[in-house]
């Protein structure tokens, strides 16, 4: 629905974007502040970046968070894709309502409830079967997969609905076996959705503080847990530096991903056009 954009809407857009971006820009600027007291300007400096790179705690937290994020994203994408396929393509099956409910609830469930309930689950399991022995990498990853898979499933579901079933039906009519239809048609067409889901799951995992704080054990500090324990006590210039690096990495990553997806989409449209032209 294109059309005139009234002055009021243009103003709201500008103000909204300023509201979203000015705090982040300030955060970045003050990371280059020499002064130890964050809001007091003491000249440009890179000293906080230096102290950041020397900190072993920060590196350990970064490594742990990245490991969790990669394993989480991979499993969440697999499980979420299966769940999305089941919801969209399998019609009615026994327990579909409960399944659908369990797939949507993690999207809105307050984190304190999810965190608390997973922790008591892990403790009960340990009492009953002796697993998981310590809390840390494994328990955080399981917790993250549980909510990430719901996000992946949403993406896969909307993609499957958008794709329609005509190509699959054509393949079946031409005698392809159902499994071959899945591997040769459905999954390749789903691939961009799965990539988007993987990236989302990866980010959600890196972002989570509350659930990880519940299910972690002594010594296993993810990056958000480390950041939170420091900023609870007030502003810290080294956290500004860390934030700047994170913002930079994320912005670059998202921009690249968006560019690739945009190009793929164009490529797909071109392919379709050529296919239709040849048909004529």
């Amino acid at each position: 629905m294109y059309g005139r954009r009234s002055r009021f809407l243009t103003f709201m857009l500008g103000a909204g974007l300023a509201f979203l971006y000015v705090p982040m820009i300030m955060l970045v600027i003050y990371s280059f502040n020499y002064s130890k007291i964050v809001p007091v300007w003491g000249g440009w400096s890179l000293r906080w970046y230096e102290s950041l790179f020397k900190s072993e705690d920060v590196w350990n937290a970064v490594v742990l968070s990245l490991k969790i994020a990669v394993v989480n994203a991979t499993f969440a994408t697999l499980l979420g894709t299966l769940a999305g396929l089941a919801m969209v393509r399998f019609g009615k099956f026994r327990g579909r309502t409960l399944f659908g409910g369990m797939l949507v609830a993690p999207l809105v469930m307050p984190e304190v409830i999810t965190g608390l309930s997973l922790l008591v689950l892990f403790i009960t399991l340990k009492k009953l079967i002796g697993w998981p022995e310590d809390r840390g990498f494994t328990t955080i990853t399981i917790a993250h997969i549980t909510f990430s898979l719901a996000y992946v499933a949403v993406i896969i579901q909307s993609r499957l609905t958008g794709m329609g079933e005509t190509l699959e039906e054509a393949a079946l009519d031409l005698g392809a076996k159902p499994f071959r239809v899945l591997t040769d048609i459905t999954l390749p067409r789903l691939a961009p959705g799965m990539v988007a889901g993987w990236l989302l799951a990866f980010t959600l995992s890196l972002d989570d503080l509350v659930i990880a704080s519940f299910v972690t054990g002594p010594g296993a500090n993810t990056l958000p847990i480390l950041i939170f324990s420091r900023i609870r006590l007030g502003l810290r210039p080294d956290i500004n530096a860390l934030a700047t690096i994170i913002i930079l990495v994320v912005a670059t990553g998202v921009a690249i991903a968006a560019f690739i997806m945009y190009r793929q989409q164009k490529q797909f449209q071109r392919d379709m056009q050529i296919a239709f032209q040849e048909e004529k």
Binding site: M1, Y2, G3, F8, L9, T10, M12, G16, L17, F19, Y21, M26, L27, P39, L82, A83, A86, M87, F90, G91, F99, G100, G101, M102, V104, A105, L107, V108, M109, P110, E111, I113, L116, S117, V120, I123, T124, T146, L149, V154, S158, T161, G164, E165, T166, L172, T203, L209, V210, P224, I227, R232, I239, N240, A243, I247, V250, G253, V254, Q269
Partner: protein
């Protein structure tokens, strides 16, 4: 593909229904059930089961042990099983002023934040829709980008702005509007700012997705028939975007009610919110039964909004 060919594809779909259902039957056994089975079992084990354990602990009693609560089922010496349910925790929550006040305050803060997000987010989403195709993509990207960066750091950014010696106070003093720094941090105001700031994309995106489907010809027809813009907006646009408004509002309201990080960092001890109370009850007081009861009551308060959200989510994914 043009819109017409899409709708044509949809139109012929029913003819293929028989081929599809044949396929579905063939796949009934075998890998098809595995596809459902794996995520199903995962969610049952790691999502549903934990709630039952929390419910169980909420009716246990606090003891100094590890884990710090009593067993629900006890075997007496003569082999008789006795089940103990202690509803004291719930009675305690409802009798204690602090808990009731905190629940009410959480609901108040999340409701007002939701309205603020809607008032700010709606014109932004509408502004994006009213832009040209390229600008539209760029604006949408600009709205989503902060969502990908760390939530925690976005809250931290406001700690720097709102502090006593922070940027906002400095700016106001420099402008000569105030002489002394005013207290912005550790207040309900700071919590509102934090929630609106971090949850705004959650409001804009469902609204955008909904507005994308709007048909501009309806507005043109209304204008041709002499309707004023305000009237057209109230009678056509607003009702048609209701599903987006509801989805976006619930996506803000539900998680904001249980929010922990924002009230902890920006509200401090001055703002009562249930997520923070639950977290502290659990970690600082190590009172698991009370924390579990608090969680169960919170869940109970949010069940209805969650069901409504699920209904809209299911409708949104089913529509092509």
């Amino acid at each position: 593909m043009t819109d017409r060919s899409v709708s044509a594809a949809v139109d012929v779909a029913p003819h293929h229904a028989s081929a599809l259902s044949r396929l579905m039957r063939r796949m009934q056994s075998g890998w098809r059930s595995i596809v459902v089975f794996i995520p199903y079992v995962w969610l049952l084990l790691f999502f549903l089961l934990p709630f039952f354990i929390v419910a169980k602990i909420s009716v246990a009693q606090l003891v100094i042990a590890s884990p710090p609560f009593t067993d629900m089922i006890k075997w007496t010496d003569d082999g008789v099983m006795s089940i103990r349910l202690a509803f004291d925790n719930f009675a305690y929550i409802f009798e204690d002023d602090l808990y009731v006040k905190t629940y009410i305050n959480s609901l108040k803060i999340s409701s007002i934040s939701t309205i603020l997000c809607l008032l700010i987010g709606y014109p932004i989403a509408y502004g994006i829709i009213r832009s040209g195709p390229v600008t539209r993509k760029l604006l949408l990207f600009a709205i989503i980008l902060p969502f990908w960066t760390s939530f925690l750091l976005r809250v931290y950014a406001w700690m720097g702005l709102l502090a006593d010696q922070g940027n906002i106070n400095n700016l106001l003093i420099w402008l000569g509007l105030i002489d002394e720094p005013i207290r912005l941090m550790y207040s309900e105001f700071a919590v509102y700012v934090g929630i609106v700031y971090t949850y705004l994309p959650f409001m804009i995106l469902p609204l955008y997705a909904n507005m994308e489907k709007l048909d501009a010809t309806l507005n043109e027809a209304a204008a041709d028939l002499g309707s004023r813009p305000t009237n057209t907006f109230l009678k056509i646009t607003l009702p048609l975007t209701m599903p987006g408004i509801i989805a976006g509002s619930l996506l803000v309201f539900i998680p904001a009610t249980g929010e922990y990080v924002i009230p902890d960092l920006l509200g401090g001890g001055n703002v009562l919110m249930i997520g923070r109370l639950l977290f502290n009850e659990f970690h600082q007081n190590v009172d698991w039964p009370t924390a579990s009861a608090v969680a169960i009551v919170l869940l109970f308060l949010l069940v209805l909004p969650m069901i409504i959200y699920q209904y809209y989510q299911a409708k949104a994914t089913e529509e092509p």
